[in-house]
């Protein structure tokens, strides 16, 4: 009998976790900047050399991807689409595995993780999981 209760408990806990995870996945969260020039995650400002691509004149969408990440492809499609649609927005895709120092400096734990940088390279929004296109566009609108 113990086994049956254990299975039930696992299914209930996993369902709760799955629902919580799904509601958080892809949500754009505001990154708070501290007076020390850091954020709750670490590094606060990124430049072209660090991310291996030019910053957009208005904003940059930085994506961290990995080889075993299913939604990274869909995320890439959405970010490329948005950067093509909105003037002055660049998209940079970074392989997390090949850039572990940067991954640690930013405390990236999952892929895809999307950072929205303003024109100075300051990290303003952060999402882990596949973001919705409207949320990416809304995040860009809130930068000014």
């Amino acid at each position: 009998m113990t086994g049956i209760f254990m299975v039930l408990a696992i299914v209930i806990l996993a369902t709760a976790f799955g629902l919580w995870h799904r509601s958080n996945s892809g949500r754009m969260k505001t990154v708070e900047h501290r007076s020390a020039g850091t954020t709750e995650h670490g590094v606060a400002i990124l430049d072209a050399q660090t991310i291996g691509g030019d910053l957009g004149a208005r904003a940059t969408l930085v994506q961290f991807s990995s080889a075993f990440c299913q939604p990274c492809r869909a995320t890439r499609q959405i970010l490329i689409e948005v950067s093509g649609m909105v003037d002055g927005v660049a998209h940079v895709d970074i392989d997390a595995e090949a850039n572990l120092d940067l991954v640690r400096a930013l405390d990236i734990r999952r892929t895809p993780t999307v950072l929205v940088l303003d024109e100075e390279g300051r990290i303003r929004r952060r999402a882990s999981g596949l973001p919705r296109k409207v949320d990416v566009i809304a995040a860009l609108g809130q930068l000014d």
Binding site: F17, G18, F68, C69, Q70, P71, E97, L100, I108
Partner: protein
């Protein structure tokens, strides 16, 4: 809703396949957990070790649950809206293999408690995969890389 014109290959698969496999794995591991400590429980774990090993070390195309999906389930469904890469679900098979093989080894060494914990974690992951299309590689690969190269 449009359907894909892509054809399933060994590298690009119907995403419903791994979820179907996850559902069977959930049932197998649930029964294994309930019958833990009996020969039936050990046999089910050994079976699942073989399943995961085929998926992880040979390929998803060689995984028996995937074969059942392609042969009996997929022909009755509409064409997939989009295909997905085989690498992420294959990584999940490898993680599943590690936990279930560890559990089997624990039983053979006489620790049902450790085996129970390992199977419970594998069961939760298989259930999340089937019910929520949970991407295990997204959650653990970068963290594992960070830990394994910590210096």
């Amino acid at each position: 809703m449009t359907t894909t014109t892509e054809v399933c290959t060994r590298a690009r698969i119907d995403p419903r396949g791994p979820r179907f496999g996850g559902a069977i794995t959930t049932v197998v591991l649930a029964i294994a957990l309930i019958t833990m400590g009996t020969p039936v429980g050990s046999a089910l774990l050994a079976w699942q070790v073989i399943i995961f090993a085929l998926g992880a070390f040979v390929g998803l195309w060689a995984q028996p649950y995937g074969w059942v999906f392609r042969t009996f389930v997929s022909p009755r469904l509409s064409a997939p809206v989009e295909l997905e890469a085989a690498a992420p679900p294959r990584f999940a098979q490898l993680v599943g293999f590690c936990f279930v093989a560890f559990a089997l080894a624990a039983i053979l060494l006489g620790s049902t408690l450790i085996a129970t914990v390992a199977v419970a974690i594998a069961l939760a992951a298989a259930f999340l995969n089937a019910a929520f299309n949970f991407c295990l590689g997204c959650e653990v690969f970068v963290l594992a890389k960070r830990l394994s190269s910590a210096g």
